[in-house]
Symmetry: C2
DNA sequence: TCTTGTCTTCAAGCGCGGTTGAAGATGTAC
DNA sequence: GTACATCTTCAACCGCGCTTGAAGACAAGA
């Protein structure tokens, strides 16, 4: 044991299933050395990367985005303070955005919905500025498009999804 | 026009694609009357339900959960203050939880990760209490299981997903 | 009347993030 | 040397939240 972990050991340490680890590798998020027999061997630093993936997912990033972030970090050593500093600033911003939105929604629970105005036309929360009908897609406007990625509670389909109505 | 909307009109008003509206109907979230020819006709109140769905998705509920919530509300009239009061209390709690988690994660950006301890074993944020390895599943522990549903950034698979490692 | 647009159903497909299972190689403990 | 656990790849499948497309009915204006 050169400080190298088998996939099972890494799974045990990180709490991430082996199938997920292989999946992450396929997606380029982590990498493994191989034994002669073709078995994966993970340097310890990989555990940090896996932890990073889990953390980032929890924050609300997609695996693709996480891959992009990971590409900025060294694969084989802990990141420097500076490297982390850059990264965490971006993340912090995204988290703040999402929190702000949740607070806005929470406010809507009493102010807008509570007052019965969930009738849509007048509702500033559900219908921010009446740009709605003109804009095309639709739910994307409130749901995802404005903030592509964060929480990705619904970046939904794939293409533009330009709805059905002309 | 009895105050009844066609599916296209409802789509235009709500910003939700007709395909999604049919999908919601299939899932029991909304209902439509039918013309002789079988075309859908929506009472105006349905627009409120659709708005509700969008709002709730944004908060982070699944369609199934939203169906449950909608079942508690009248289909044909605006909800009373009391009805809204009950509902919004539960929601507020969920939003608060999610915000709290995001704040915790944000804190981790500097306190835990920033200090380099993303080495997993000592990390209080990634590894809340070391119950991790014992508990079975794994990522579910941090990711979804604790808070089944909210934000559902990852309630992931279906069953228990008891990983691969014994 | 004819054309164009909107509606219907039904089946299939997509992106995401994996899991499951089969078939086989390898490693380890007794 | 023989079990039995762990590993490999590969293909298929899952749940979620829809979208897309085909094939056909219906509606409204010129």
């Amino acid at each position: 044991m050169d400080g190298l972990l088998t996939i099972g050991e890494l799974a045990a340490r990180t709490g991430v299933a082996t199938s997920a680890l292989r999946f992450y590798e396929e997606r380029g998020l982590i990498r493994a050395e191989r034994t002669e027999a073709g078995h994966r061997r993970y340097p310890r630093a990989v555990a940090r990367r896996v932890a990073f993936v889990v953390f980032a997912q929890r924050v609300g990033l997609t695996l693709e985005e996480i891959g992009g972030e990971l590409a900025k970090l060294p694969a084989d050593r802990p990141p420097t303070r500076q490297e982390w500093g850059r990264l965490s600033r971006t993340w912090r911003a995204r988290i703040d955005e999402r929190i702000a939105e949740l607070e806005r929604l929470r406010g809507g629970l009493t102010e807008c919905i509570g007052c019965g105005c969930l009738s849509l036309d007048r509702c500033a929360i559900l219908n921010p500025g009446d740009r709605l009908a003109e804009n095309g897609p639709g739910p994307r406007l409130w749901l995802g498009d404005a903030r592509p990625g964060l929480d990705r509670a619904k970046t939904g389909g794939q293409g533009d999804a330009a709805a059905e109505r002309t």
